[in-house]
Amino acid sequence: MQIEVRNLKKDFGQFAAVQNVSFDIEPGKLIGLLGPSGGGKTTILRMLAGLEKPTSGEILFHGKNVNHLPPQERGIGFVFQNYALFKHMNVFDNIAFGLTVQKKTKREIQERVYEMIELIGLKGLAERYPHQLSGGQRQRVAFARALAPSPELLLLDEPFAAIDAKVRKELRTWLREMISRVGVTSIFVTHDQEEAVEVADEIMIINSGRLEQKGTPWQVYKEPQTPFVASFLGESNILPDTASITGFEAATFRLRDKSRAKTANILIRPESIEVGREHEISNPAAASIGLVKSVQFRGTLWQVEVEVGHHRLLAHRTLEKETLKPGDEVAVLIHSLHLFHEDESLFLENEIKRASSAAI
């Protein structure tokens, strides 16, 4: 379904939960609404579903305003955070529920329900009641219930929040495949960046009721347009200036408004920092000298805290390389950083490194 949202606003009393949010969604896409708790993601989702009335703004499905349509006339499916399965009905009846209103014959309903049960891999459990299922199974039933009436838009509110980490990963992959197989336009809410990046075609970062950025996970990670997006998606070091960082001494002069350069935010991802003995570094000339402050094992890599000038930076180092110790003097090569100033955002590469590679 083609979705357009124009200047959507929602106030709860004095509290502005959603402020002036506009976006378009192409048919068939899987969109992740990502942001911190209380940021307004769920409110946006509920307004799309018709479970909440916008204070102002427009929601258009296929170019038609649906603001005043109740949820049952919007052609949507909704998967609730706590599933909200009908407790007094077994799996079959839960999934069949939405079909019975569509005036389908008994036979059609039965076929569709068994097709859905097969799809969610719960064959043989049709007679079970919700309390006889595991969390992951309930989640699947909720998904099938929403999908059975063939909605044009599937909305999922924190679909994996209540499931333990291991099952969550499996379900994620499963959901991704399921949605692409069915081909339904889908929007899901999550506060888990890993989940959003892994599952979504596009993500929308929502913070304090505003849409900060919309794009593919890679775009948003690579070219964050606001400091919030940069710090929310992935890990990052935030610095007030770039003095004493080799290769970026003049970085702030690239901003349009040079006089205000002092109020800029500099953001460096740990994965764009190379830290090690001088002979290990790919381009020692472009590196600064730093002092290792601490080293922490992070499961798949070392997290090294290193002091460069008056900055403290967190960097990543692979486990294969020699282990660093606090107090070691190391070379610190910063490959790239992001610079933010008001509405301007720049992605800068190390100038010395660039100059030297250009020379070759």
Binding site: Q72, F86, K87, F97, V101, A146
Partner: protein
């Protein structure tokens, strides 16, 4: 066995059938009919209270206020003895049915309202999101789940009602208690007769308690304990 004991035994045996007959012919039908009608009134009043419509919820609130705030016996007197003076004359049985129905409706509406409100909002929303209308969601999702919550307090009301039907004796209905009074008037054995009547009420309410247990089991079959 002395004469006195023999006499009392005779009275007990001879009065048992007339008492039970009055109970089965009047007390039980009066309670069943009033309760069934009362539930309908209670559901409507509860829905009116929950409707969000100010007029409807105001009417429901007023109704509950009046009925709960005045004695049932007084209400029965107004219906049976009072209404004829404005040209509305009703028999004892219909008067009793009206009085008890209104009473069950008022108390029951609060029970049903609470039971409906105890169902999570997500259940409504889930029903809407798969395409159900308000009345479909109410009938198929909310009421079945709310029933489980409402059964114990409603059974309480029903048992109260069975006992309250004795008030109908005061408006000339020859139900169980009235018959006990009549036999007492001829035998002068109030302790025996009224105790016997009490035992029959106890039998009725015990049967009801069993029914309540059975209903509770039935409605909580699919809910994890």
């Amino acid at each position: 066995m002395d004469d006195r004991t023999q006499r009392i035994l005779d009275i007990v045996v001879n009065s048992f059938l007339p008492l039970l007959k009055a109970g089965v012919e009047f007390t039980v039908p009066l309670a069943l009919i009033s309760f069934a009608l009362g539930l309908v009134v209670a559901l409507l009043a509860a829905l009116a209270r929950l409707s969000g419509n100010r007029v409807l919820s105001g009417i429901a609130r007023f109704y509950v206020w009046i009925i709960r705030g005045t004695p049932l016996l007084v209400q029965l007197f107004i219906i049976f003895y009072g209404l004829p003076s404005i040209g509305l004359t009703l028999g004892a049985f219909p008067s009793a049915v009206i009085g008890f129905t209104l009473s069950v409706g008022a108390y029951g509406s609060e029970i049903i309202r609470a039971a409906i409100q105890s169902i999570a909002r997500g259940q409504w929303e889930a029903a809407y999101s798969v395409g159900m209308t308000y009345s479909q969601a109410l009938r198929r999702i909310v009421i079945p789940q709310a029933t489980r919550v409402a059964v114990p307090p409603l059974a309480n009301s029903f048992i109260s009602l069975i006992k309250d039907t004795s008030l109908a004796a005061a408006i000339t209905m020859t139900e169980l208690f009235r018959v006990a009074q009549q036999i007492t008037a001829t035998t002068y054995e109030p302790l025996v007769l009224y105790s016997e009547a009490a035992v029959i009420y106890l039998i009725f309410s015990t049967v009801l308690s069993w029914v309540q247990g059975w209903l509770e089991n039935r409605f909580s079959r699919h809910v994890a304990k």
